[in-house]
Symmetry: C2
């Protein structure tokens, strides 16, 4: 019998070694420099080549990658080929990948999804899940994850304005927010299924929040590893993000557009920084953006 190391332990170690950045490869063809795009047979191929260049230029400086499947589904079957190849390429570098698929379905269907995303063409280390249908839409993933060393991040408190519609409704009997009811259930599950690092093998998606709320959330769920979106393009900063960390670990901070389209704002980086980073202009800019973000988070974290 093979004993799998839970993915959360690998992620914990990756954060220790390489910082907190989770690079979001939400790549559409429009993000690929025109010159590179014209070289490719089609958009799906252009995105794959671009992703590979970004991965080559950044894998030693990021904790993990997150790949948003919507961008690939939009390109149809060829796009999903690129999605599959991107995941494989990340894993071939020894890096971890979160499949941002936000699936949420029950029973047999959940198991099918778990087979789809924890093995085969679309194998990832972690997935993101949506809890609306209830814990029977989460648990089937757990048994599969335990058996093959995978993990998941369940949507708890997101950073989009629409979180007010339902996540921030007060629920009885505890008069807690809906997202706290979700966090509570997830917490129970994490306590019973921990990695050696002390975090549950299932964690939470918890967006950048105001400092007070962030600190409260961190305190409420000490055993949950956080996937923290909302950095950069979505307005959150390193200061907000570090409030969700714990002893300098326990979370990865995702940025997508600000990294992969960094080449469009190359004035933010010195020519030398880009040249030093990589021969390829676009991936060089991405690397410069990653290093800047990583160091910002580390420096704020050190002040905590």
């Amino acid at each position: 019998m093979v004993d799998f190391v839970p993915a959360v332990d690998l992620l914990y170690d990756a954060v220790k070694a390489k910082g907190h950045v989770c690079i979001g490869l939400d790549t559409c063809a429009g993000y690929v420099p025109e010159r590179e795009r014209r070289k490719a047979q089609n958009d799906a191929q252009a995105v794959l080549a671009f992703n590979k260049a970004v991965i080559d230029a950044t894998y030693d400086a990021a904790a993990c990658y997150k790949v948003q499947i919507a961008y690939y589904e939009e390109m149809g079957l060829a796009g999903l080929g690129t999605y599959s190849e991107t995941l494989k390429y990340i894993r071939s570098k020894g890096s971890l990948v979160i499949a941002d698929i936000k699936r949420g379905d029950i029973a047999d269907t959940a198991l099918r999804y778990a087979n789809a995303h924890f093995s085969g063409d679309f194998e990832a280390d972690f997935v993101t899940l949506s809890p609306y249908m209830g814990m029977d839409s989460i648990e089937p993933w757990l048994s599969k994850a335990v058996s093959c060393g995978k993990g998941a991040f369940v949507l708890v408190r997101t950073s989009n304005p629409g979180r007010k519609d339902f996540q921030l409704l007060k629920t009885s009997p505890q008069s807690a927010y809906l997202y706290e009811a979700v966090g509570e259930k997830l917490s129970e599950l994490a306590k019973q299924n921990k990695g050696k690092c002390g975090y549950g093998i299932f964690g939470a998606v918890t967006g950048c929040a105001e400092r007070d709320e962030a600190l409260r959330i961190r305190q409420q769920y000490p055993e949950l590893f956080f996937l923290i979106p909302g950095y950069g393009a979505q307005g959150g900063g390193a200061k907000d993000a570090v409030s969700l960390l714990r002893n300098g670990n326990g979370g990865v901070v995702n940025a997508s557009r600000s990294i992969i389209t960094a080449w469009q704002n190359a004035q933010n980086y010195t020519e030398q920084a880009i040249k030093d980073a990589d021969n390829n202009f676009a991936s060089g800019a991405s690397r410069a953006a990653v290093l800047k973000m990583r160091d910002e988070i580390l420096s704020y974290g050190a002040q905590q």
Copy 2:
């Protein structure tokens, strides 16, 4: 400029002409008779051939099809090829198809998903959506749907036991269930975006419920067209399902396993019924199951 007929109007007419059955093509290779499976090159091809036979045998007797993408994702890239071909085949028959994808993501990501599932390789007439992130995860789909005559069903009250975890929490200030908070928001949106049939172009997933609850839900949301799962394998019956209809329309009732694996329980159908239905044993049994279900719903509906 082309004026698109909203998909909900087409579905309304389909119910009038062909009854309320929504056939769930949640097909895995294990549901294909061994003899047929051996004829195919691989599992994805076996499922495609099986789906086509079922569609040929049933499209005149069902309101629409629902294809659960998890079963196809499980088979990887080849499976998604079968998913794409199945959708195309249904539409080539002039039938409607609901892509059961339960997506739920925001802003640009939602638009990417909408492009993916309202056009191109994965074009469907309707999709299913999950509301946890808030209405900004629903609205981007709406603008796209309006522009191309598509529709959606948003998860409101599902029929799995886990619905108790979150959907049935009481929320303040109205002291309504969470699912009613979702239904309310969806209702507002439907009122502003109706088809000629009087139903909103976005409807709700509302599982079979106890008669009293079902009648109350139907009364609360007169403008929502319902996708009603939970029939057959999930324990609901025609009697429960019809309580969610309105004047004999306003809903389709989904059954998956009880239809596509009907051949495994062929003792439920007379040999003649199967022979009459189709030369192919499996799809013949499926047709017999569809006709039985359709007539049960119609007869209960007539008693209302």
